[in-house]
């Protein structure tokens, strides 16, 4: 218990000057990143954002997805993420191949907003 008190004391010690300096550099990096992309007119992207069918199918049978991607990693919370966590599939590309991996995100995360989504996630559990 003494340990945790000590940790909390440490966490509040942030030098305001350092913080301000850091904030400035971070904002700049952000702004620069945005502006550099805005200027790149030539690379207006074409969309390649279709959700692969196996994801829909897999929502009824989670094993299907696991079989498909082959390297599904199970979050360490295992099956008990149910209470305050929601299981989602992360869609990724490796080369040109689509791939899904699963991950747990907090129920109150802005990504989890429609009840439909919640239901979909719960069906899986």
């Amino acid at each position: 218990e003494e340990d945790s008190v000590l940790v909390r004391q440490k966490l509040v010690k942030v030098d305001p000057k350092e913080e301000e300096d850091f904030e400035r550099e971070m904002k700049a990096l952000m702004q620069e990143s945005l502006e550099s992309r805005k200027l790149e007119l030539r690379s207006r992207p074409t969309l390649n954002m279709m959700i692969p069918m196996n994801v829909f199918e897999g929502s009824k049978d989670p094993r299907f997805v696991e079989g498909e991607s082959g390297e599904e990693t199970v979050d360490e919370e295992g099956g008990n993420g149910g209470q305050n966590k929601v299981r989602v599939k992360v869609l990724m590309k490796r080369g040109n191949k689509q791939q899904t991996k699963q991950m747990y995100i907090p129920r109150d995360c802005s990504l989890v907003h429609s009840t439909k989504q919640l239901e979909a996630a719960e069906v899986e559990e």
Binding site: L11, F22, M26, S43, K93, M103, V112
Partner: protein, 834 residues
């Protein structure tokens, strides 16, 4: 199966590869790897004692932007990238989820999130969830180490982090323990005025050059860019040229023609992996680079996207500086005894060069010299070392050319003429050649394809066009090589030998050889000796750079420059602090060496030269042009005082931090710059007559994009207008100059505008007229700016309001902080532009 954080043991055993490089936390669920090839360090997602998590701290401080997850993390070994376009900049990435499914993807904020077509799809764009939130990676993607873990980790402070990041720039493998080691924090030995001998000189300068070289290497090699789109072309010499945009990520690194880049393609089903090195032969104002490839074979010319570009750093220039210092020390014949002692600051008996002076000091093909120029030429010819100070527009080049002409006529062998920049060397070569002397301009091999205004004088051109029958063999081989791309090895040998012999012959027959200071160390000049050397722009060269042309046997040296304008650009702050930014010219001035000052300026409207003359040259600058010669007839521009083509346009807009993080921009100033430019263009001024100067790279980029987006005239007109830093305008002129000061924060300094040398350069570029935009309340705190503002106010040229209805401004100035310190001229700070 692993079930929790407790499984990881802390503080035990050796360093684990994926341990956080700050605090040593090594739980795979809590760490990510920086994906920059030169970095690849791991960091955790805990905040420790700092304002951002360790990984975010690193990315921000190192300006790195890509990461990869650990193979044992929930998502496995994954480089985080936009699902749609593959963008890997984590500062742009965030998750979106499908409207009805529990499916999420990473998507970049710009441009993918803003693609209209996406709205109609199955994705919910309203809840884009950034990857980095509250200066921390999403904790459900990269776990925050538990309190337990944090407690057992190393307690690193923000200061230590900053020091470590600084150290990594020169030593990527350094650990936090290295911070404690002696030497790391030590400042290098600073330069001094005098040196015991050339060995001591070398001991001081060699480490500084090493520091600068290391820093340069690191900065440039970290400039790799992926996802570059390429446009292909073929040059006149039949070589492949790739065009692409290589934006300045960090404005400290400036690409120049002759730089070497590597272009890579990782391959696809139809193309094997490919790479080639090439030289930059051109840079456009839009930051497009033209790269001439060394090898034309196997170039994937039907591919246009997905290339990567790396900078290939060369140590040549630094090696030559080190070499020159060594020669200076060990070779007694490298410079005359008099010059040796003089350069080291020893007291030497006065010496006169016994030369027959010419009857007139001008030279054929050059304009008539004025009194101060004649005096300079005459004095220089009789002295072993002379310094000529050439304030803006005073005819430095003409004076230098006249000196070189008379030196060459004295029959003491060939004269070597150098300057740190290629532009200055070209100008000199041109002027000297017009006196009728035989001039050879020696270019670096890497610059042979770069356009030069004096191409006919260059060695490589002369080798190709020397049209005598003896050379026919060389020409035949050259032709063969051009057509086939390469020669058989025996032909190649023959070709090289013939070429070398021809080069030597041409060089030997020249009266004058012109090259950059670094170029004087070219192997092709190895066996040449030069008794007489002139170095122009010598105040923009570091001492070791200036030494390169001198150690070829110099007996008489002329240094031309102006220590009241900007000095050499030093990137490494440590080296700059130690005095590497001080030129040899400046040190000699500090040692009490007298300079000849050219006193008549031929550039500026007399109204424009008044303030610079009084503030920087003790009022000695005379006008060689009249008001009438600088009247902009037919140009209808709303100057507040007719016949006084200058005004200070009061701006109250806010400054913002921009682009590079150390730079600023000011939107209102940019908008007004566009209005002024448009008014000039409407009144009949053409784009090439206008120059926009701003000390900040952030503002430069913003003005360029603002004008092309908002200018009411044809876009092309705005594109042709040069917008650049003060530093890149040094040595040049424009008819009309618009100066945007940017800084407008009452609580902070004015940064780079504080250097009087920079202000001097900015104010002395215009021939016909100048408009300055800035905030008098802020600028007036600085004594020199205060007097500039007062000067404009006294002449009723301090104005505000709309451009078509300018009114005198009643804005109150602040009291200047301290008395103007003229010592700022000497050895002032680094000349970097941020």
């Amino acid at each position: 199966e692993e079930t929790g954080d407790e499984n990881y043991e802390f503080g035990k055993g050796d360093f684990t590869e994926h341990a956080c490089r700050y605090c040593a936390v090594q739980n795979p669920a809590c760490v990510v790897r920086c994906n920059i090839p030169t970095c690849r360090k791991w960091f955790c997602n805990s905040r420790g004692n700092t304002s951002g998590s360790h990984i975010v701290n690193h990315l921000v401080r190192a300006k790195h932007k890509e990461v990869c997850l650990h193979k044992d993390s929930p998502l496995g070994e994954t480089i985080l990238e936009c699902y749609n376009c593959g963008c890997r900049n984590v500062f742009l990435l965030g998750f979106i989820s499908a409207k009805t499914e529990s499916v999420v993807v990473l998507l970049c904020r710009e441009p993918c999130l803003n693609v209209n077509a996406l709205k109609d799809m199955n994705w919910d764009l309203s809840q884009w969830c950034p990857l980095i939130d509250d200066r921390c990676f999403l904790p459900w993607l990269v776990k925050v180490p538990s309190e337990q873990e944090q407690l057992r980790a190393r307690q690193i402070s923000a200061q230590q982090i900053n020091k470590l990041e600084e150290l990594w720039k020169t030593n990527p493998d350094a650990s936090i323990e290295d911070l404690e080691k002696p030497g790391v924090d030590d400042e290098p030995q600073p330069v001094s005025l005098k040196y015991e001998d050339a060995y001591q000189y070398q001991n001081v300068f060699a480490p500084l050059i090493k520091l600068e070289a290391d820093y340069d290497k690191l900065m440039k090699e970290s400039q790799s860019k992926d996802n570059v789109s390429v446009r292909w072309d073929i040059g006149l010499n039949k070589k492949r040229v790739a065009y692409f945009v290589f934006p300045k990520e960090d404005n400290e690194v400036r690409l120049v023609p002759g730089d070497e880049l590597r272009l890579r393609y990782s391959g696809d089903t139809a193309h094997p992996a490919w790479q080639s090195v090439g030289h930059v032969i051109k840079l456009t104002a839009q930051e497009e680079v033209a790269l001439e490839l060394r090898a034309s074979q196997g170039v994937p010319v039907d591919v246009n996207h997905g290339f990567s570009v790396d900078f290939v750093w060369k140590s040549t220039s630094f090696d030559r500086m080190q070499g020159a210092m060594k020669t200076f020390a060990v070779d007694e014949t490298s410079v005359s005894g008099y010059i040796y002692h003089h350069l080291l600051g020893h007291e030497v008996e006065h010496q006169v060069v016994r030369n027959v002076l010419p009857r007139r000091f001008g030279a054929p093909g050059l304009p008539e010299l004025n009194a101060s120029q004649v005096f300079a030429v005459k004095s220089v010819l009789q002295k072993p070392i002379s310094l000529i100070q050439g304030p803006p527009g005073t005819g430095k080049t003409v004076t230098s050319a006249a000196i070189v002409y008379h030196m060459a006529k004295q029959g003491q062998g060939q004269v070597l003429v150098c300057a740190p920049s290629n532009v200055a060397v070209d100008q000199l070569a041109d002027k000297i050649s017009s006196t009728g002397l035989k001039v050879v301009r020696l270019c670096a091999k890497s610059r042979e394809a770069v356009m030069s205004p004096v191409e006919h004088l260059t060695l490589h051109y002369q080798v190709r066009h020397l049209d005598t029958s003896e050379k026919s063999e060389l020409h035949k081989l050259q032709q063969l090589k051009d057509e086939q791309g390469e020669l058989s090895s025996s032909d190649e040998k023959k070709f090289k030998a013939l070429k070398r012999a021809t080069e030597r012959e041409i060089l030997q027959s020249a009266d004058v050889i012109c090259c950059t200071c670094v170029g004087a160390g070219d192997p092709r000049l190895e066996n040449f000796r030069f008794r007489q050397v002139l170095v122009d722009e010598s105040t923009q060269a570091t001492e070791p750079e200036c030494l390169i042309p001198l150690v070829l046997g110099v007996k008489q040296v002329v240094l031309v420059g102006d220590h009241c304008q900007l000095g050499p650009v030093i990137m490494c702050k440590k080296a700059a602090r130690a005095g590497l930014a001080q030129s040899l010219f400046e040190r000699l001035v500090l040692l009490g060496h007298k300079t000849f000052r050219l006193q008549v300026q031929y550039r500026m409207h007399p109204c424009l030269s008044e303030f610079p003359s009084n503030s920087f040259y003790e009022g000695t600058l005379q006008n060689g042009v009249t008001v009438n010669e600088r009247q902009s007839s037919g140009i209808d521009f709303p100057w507040p005082v007719p016949n006084r083509p200058m005004f200070f346009y009061v701006q109250m807009g806010q400054e913002e931090i921009s682009a590079s993080g150390t730079s600023y921009l000011n939107r209102t100033e940019a908008a007004n710059v566009e209005k002024i430019v448009t008014t000039f263009l409407r009144s009949g001024v053409i784009p090439s007559q206008i120059g926009v100067i701003t000390p900040y790279e952030g503002q430069r980029a913003y003005i360029v994009s603002y004008m092309s987006r908002n200018g009411s005239l044809r876009q092309q007109l705005y594109k042709e207008i040069e917008v650049a830093s003060v530093d890149s305008f040094q040595g040049r002129e424009k008819d009309y100059i618009i100066l945007s000061c940017v800084r407008s924060n009452e609580h902070q300094g004015i940064g780079f505008l504080n250097d009087p040398r920079r202000l001097n350069v900015a104010l002395t570029r215009a021939r016909y007229g100048i408009v300055i935009l800035g905030n008098p309340k802020v600028l007036s705190k600085q004594p020199l700016w205060n007097s500039l503002l007062t000067h404009y106010k006294e002449h009723e040229c301090l104005v505000e309001g709309p451009l078509n209805n300018l009114k005198q401004s009643m804005v109150q100035f602040q009291k200047p902080k301290k008395i103007y310190n003229s010592r700022l001229f000497y050895g002032g700070g680094p000349a970097m532009v941020h």
